[in-house]
């Protein structure tokens, strides 16, 4: 089976408003943030949050959507313990916005629609979902504003989905409507020209890629066995598998009616213009500007444009440091180290000065780039004075040929087999020698000089 995968995403984005979508309780995680409205108590009525509407329009404009003229809320009716009223206030017709686009490299991702809705409560199970005798419903999340974004089924790989979501998050952060405290939940529809399978409840971008890759393999396997069916599956992040949730024969019946407690809200042209004017620079525009202003490589410009805080660091140091060095160091060494430690660039914003000092030393040939990399890996978890570190750790660049030659000789002597290999044409071995010397000198050796010495030593060694 070699059919291409066809994937569509439904993304639920918690947005960062002060209060919930229909009441004045504080939004986000905090104690006691419930009231009769978000608990669905009898007699309590919803009042729409204007800020949430403004935020959703910001996103719609950033994604080049067509905006509706009116905001109408609906009741989506189904029974579930996490839904205080046993209906969810959401939007149906018209959605807040439709027909948007977002470019991922050369591919255009089409956005079918986006709309506002309230988040249900969260449910936790004392054990596995199927074996638990009870569950705990936590209403602090109940009523948090969500934007639901639905794409056309236009992705053909899990990686593409990841790139789209990364860019989407970058845009959300740019628009200042989302931060680390907000949660992104994704449902993915995956099919290989066969029945469509919906995977629910994927909690992060990395997991989306994993879940879809898993599902593609599972579907190929089940298709071979002739057992593939239309169903809804649940992503289990512990076992890293999708598990059956329910079989889906027909569309669900939600018995939508207009929410009678909320008046129709007109979206005026003036309001849209005002939001348009206040829109910040978006990733694509930013990448273009970075290339023009700093003459850096497009691939670095793209990475920086997608990471708001990393770019902050870049723009703060690029006036003092060669922009190309700064960009390449941030996008490779720093980004790599952050990724390894599972940290966001926001966590190291206060270390901008240290990074600048490091790169100045690299630029002036006082330390090697390798040394800078090693120091930055430490700097990410803890702030310290880099100058002091360099001197106490003896990391200043060593270009004393005699001193280096001694170390090189030792290395060559101890690795006779490697010397043979090099002579027999395995040129990669050279890197091994240089690397060993670098490690032995705590990355202070001038790598160019080491290379020269090693080559000479190998040349001169007896056959």
């Amino acid at each position: 089976m070699t059919e291409k995968a066809k994937i569509g995403l439904e993304v639920h984005i918690q947005i960062k408003t002060k209060s919930k979508l229909f009441c004045s309780c504080p939004s986000g995680k905090s104690e006691n943030n419930v009231c009769p409205i978000c608990l669905g108590m009898p007699g309590a009525l919803p009042t729409p949050n204007k800020k949430a509407i403004e935020y959703a329009i910001r996103l719609a404009l950033a994604l080049n959507c067509e905006l509706a003229e009116k905001i109408i809320f609906w009741r989506k009716c189904y029974f579930y313990p996490d839904l205080p009223k046993n209906f969810q206030i959401t939007q149906l017709e018209p959605p807040l916005a439709k027909n948007g686009k977002l470019k991922i490299g050369k591919k255009i991702i089409y956005i079918r629609e986006l709309h506002l809705e309230e988040d249900p409560a969260s449910i936790t199970y004392p054990a596995d979902i199927h074996s638990s005798r009870y569950c705990i419903v936590d209403h602090s999340r109940s009523g948090t504003p969500l934007i639901e974004l639905v794409t056309e089924p236009c992705f053909d790989s899990a990686k593409q989905c990841r790139l789209f979501l990364t860019k989407l998050v970058a845009i959300l952060k740019c628009l200042k409507i989302f931060d680390e405290s907000c949660v992104l939940r994704v449902d993915a529809n995956v099919s290989l020209n066969g029945p469509r399978v919906e995977i629910k409840n994927i909690g992060s971008i990395k997991e989306v890629e994993r879940a879809i890759n898993y599902e593609i393999i599972r579907q190929k396997h089940f298709a071979k066995l002739g057992k593939l069916k239309r169903e809804t599956r649940l992503w289990d992040s512990t076992s890293k598998t999708t598990k059956p949730m329910r079989e889906k024969e027909t569309e669900e019946e939600y018995g939508y009616i207009v929410e009678p407690n909320i008046s129709v809200i007109e979206i005026t042209k003036e309001f849209i213009e005002k939001i348009k004017k206040e829109l910040p620079e978006l990733p694509d525009q930013k990448a273009e500007r970075l290339i023009k202003q700093y003459k850096i490589k497009p691939e670095f410009a793209e990475i920086l444009s997608l990471d708001y805080d990393l770019c902050e660091i870049f723009e703060n140091i690029a006036t003092d440091i060669s922009p190309n060095l700064a960009a390449s160091f941030l996008c490779t060494e720093v980004a790599g180290a952050l990724n390894y430690e599972e940290l966001e660039a926001k966590a190291i914003l206060d270390r901008t000065e240290e990074i600048k000092e490091l790169l100045e030393m690299v630029e002036k040939n006082k330390i090697t780039r390798k040394a800078a990399k090693k120091i930055v890996e430490k700097l990410i978890s803890k702030k310290f004075s880099v100058k002091q570190f360099v001197s106490t750790q003896d990391m200043y660049l060593v270009s004393d040929e005699k001193k280096l030659e001694e170390i090189c000789k030792k290395v060559v002597k101890e690795n006779k087999k490697a010397v043979e290999d090099y002579k027999n044409g395995k040129e990669k071995v050279l890197q091994f020698f240089i690397g060993t010397v670098m490690k032995m000198t705590n990355f202070s050796a001038d790598p160019q000089l080491v290379r020269k010495i090693i080559l000479r030593l190998i040349e001169n060694s007896a056959n």
């Binding site: 009042t47 205080p84 009678p260 008046s263």
Partner: protein, 457 residues
């Protein structure tokens, strides 16, 4: 004693509020033992604030949320629910110094015209004129106590399709239902949100305005609450619109009584014929579709989890538990309206019923606008029948019961203010005329109705 006179006496210390209120509680208990107008009576009622209504005893229909006082909607499923907050109207009344004396019985969630659709934990209210007969519904307790009370008192009631008008007519008192959105619904347990209104039942027509002035007005907690001001109207010669069709369908005695009123009014005003053909023909169907559609979603929250009845849930799937609780504690009528309302909004039927009904409601509103081009107010009988006996209702067909709202549904669908005035007949029971006027002319309507009330006496 009328409200304004009472308030004056309290102000001048001619009435000792503490004594007066404890005396009232005694009386209310006694009436309640015999007639069942209250689901709960407040132990030691006293004013919490100084204000324009200082000391005024008020009963509140049990469909309105009262902080610390059990609020049940007269449904078994909410039995035991003690809210932690006040409805906006209750808050406003308390802030003005009014005193809540108790919660009046009603049809469960307002579902009914005779106040017999109540949970097993409640007793049906009996007509104050003859106990074998119904009070009318859904605000039966409010209508009954207003008639029976020999003390100053005003009842806060609600109407969705006639729940203020019907018991007012059957109990021989005044009922007022405001423009939709004039009085905040925050804290009114939803039956059908797009139709629900809070209004007033009173023994004297003069008692309505002082209370309305306190409870009316914009509330930011109710998104459909109006921010526009109530209009006054200058009329040289009052034009009273009559709907001939409405007079043709009512009981003979009622028709005679209403025609008698029209004759008396004719001496002071011009009588014109207006047409409410669509409202009369499609009103009942339109109303029951919209109202049950909304009600079936509003009642979904009653599932034994967060408030009201709950039972041991462990080891049960939630669907099983919800079905058990809802099956056990909802009455037949609650179940009927949930099923009907769910059906009319299901895919495949929604266009034919729910969507069509919302379109017809717009036409009905348009029809009223047309009628108000011809007449300043529209006069019809309130109810087509006299209050039936309780055992007669039990034999009635459900469609006939729904059709008994035929005359009260149109102004409720259109959201226009309306007021009912009791009219004496040759029979044991009085009947009632209903006057309605254009949106947001509420105070003007009350003033005109006060005049008309004098003309027809």
């Amino acid at each position: 004693m009328k409200v304004l006179e009472f308030l004056q006496k309290v102000k001048q210390n001619e009435i000792n509020i503490e004594d007066y209120l404890s005396e009232i509680v005694q009386k209310v208990r006694k009436i309640n033992d015999e007639y069942h107008y209250f689901n709960s009576i407040v132990e030691n009622p006293k004013p919490e604030h100084k204000g324009k209504l200082f000391g005024l005893p008020v009963s509140v229909k049990d469909l309105i949320i009262t902080k610390g006082i059990e609020t049940t909607a007269s449904s078994d499923i909410l039995k035991g629910f003690i809210p932690k907050y006040d409805a906006t109207v209750v808050e406003r009344l308390k802030n003005a110094g009014a005193v809540i004396i108790g919660k009046t019985v009603c049809d469960a969630f307002g579902f009914g015209s005779f106040n017999l659709n109540i949970g097993k934990s409640f007793q049906p209210p009996l007509n104050p004129i003859d106990k074998k007969h119904v009070t009318g519904g859904s605000s039966g307790g409010a209508g009954g106590i207003t008639q029976k009370a020999d003390f100053t008192h005003v009842a806060i009631a609600t109407s969705t399709g006639g729940s203020i008008e019907c018991p007012s007519a059957f109990c021989g008192v005044y009922g007022f239902c405001p423009t939709y959105g004039l009085v905040s619904r925050y804290g009114l347990i939803s039956y059908a949100d797009s139709l629900d209104k809070i209004g007033i039942i009173a023994k004297y027509i003069e008692d309505i305005k002082p209370v309305l002035k306190i409870i009316a007005g914009h509330d930011e907690k109710d998104n459909t609450s109006l921010s526009q001001q109530v209009k006054t109207k200058e009329v040289e010669c009052l034009k009273v619109g009559i709907v001939t069709q409405a007079l043709e369908i009512v009981n003979e005695e009622i028709r005679k009584a209403v025609e008698g009123c029209i004759k008396k009014i004719e001496k002071h005003a011009e009588i014109v014929e207006v047409s409410l053909q669509k409202a009369m023909k499609y009103g009942v169907a339109t109303y029951y579709i919209i109202a049950t559609a909304e009600a079936s979603t509003n009642l979904a929250r009653y599932c034994g989890l967060r408030f009201g009845r709950n039972e041991k849930i462990e080891s049960k799937h939630f669907r099983e538990y919800f079905a058990e609780i809802r099956g056990k504690y909802f009455s037949e009528e609650e179940k009927r309206r949930i099923l009907l309302g769910t059906f009319v909004r299901m895919a495949g039927f929604k266009q034919r019923y729910y969507v069509k009904a919302t379109k017809i409601r717009k036409l009905v509103i348009e029809e009223y606008k047309q009628a108000f081009n011809k007449a300043d107010i529209i006069l019809t009988p309130t109810m087509a029948i006299f209050p039936p006996k309780i055992d007669e209702v039990e034999k009635m067909d459900i469609i006939d019961i729904y059709n008994s709202d035929l005359l009260t549904i149109p102004p409720n669908l259109a959201g226009v203010p309306h007021i009912t005035i009791p009219v004496q007949t040759n029979k044991k029971f009085p009947t009632s005329i209903m006057l309605c006027s254009n949106h947001l002319t509420d105070y003007w309507l009350i003033d005109i109705a006060t005049k008309i009330d004098k003309w027809i006496k």
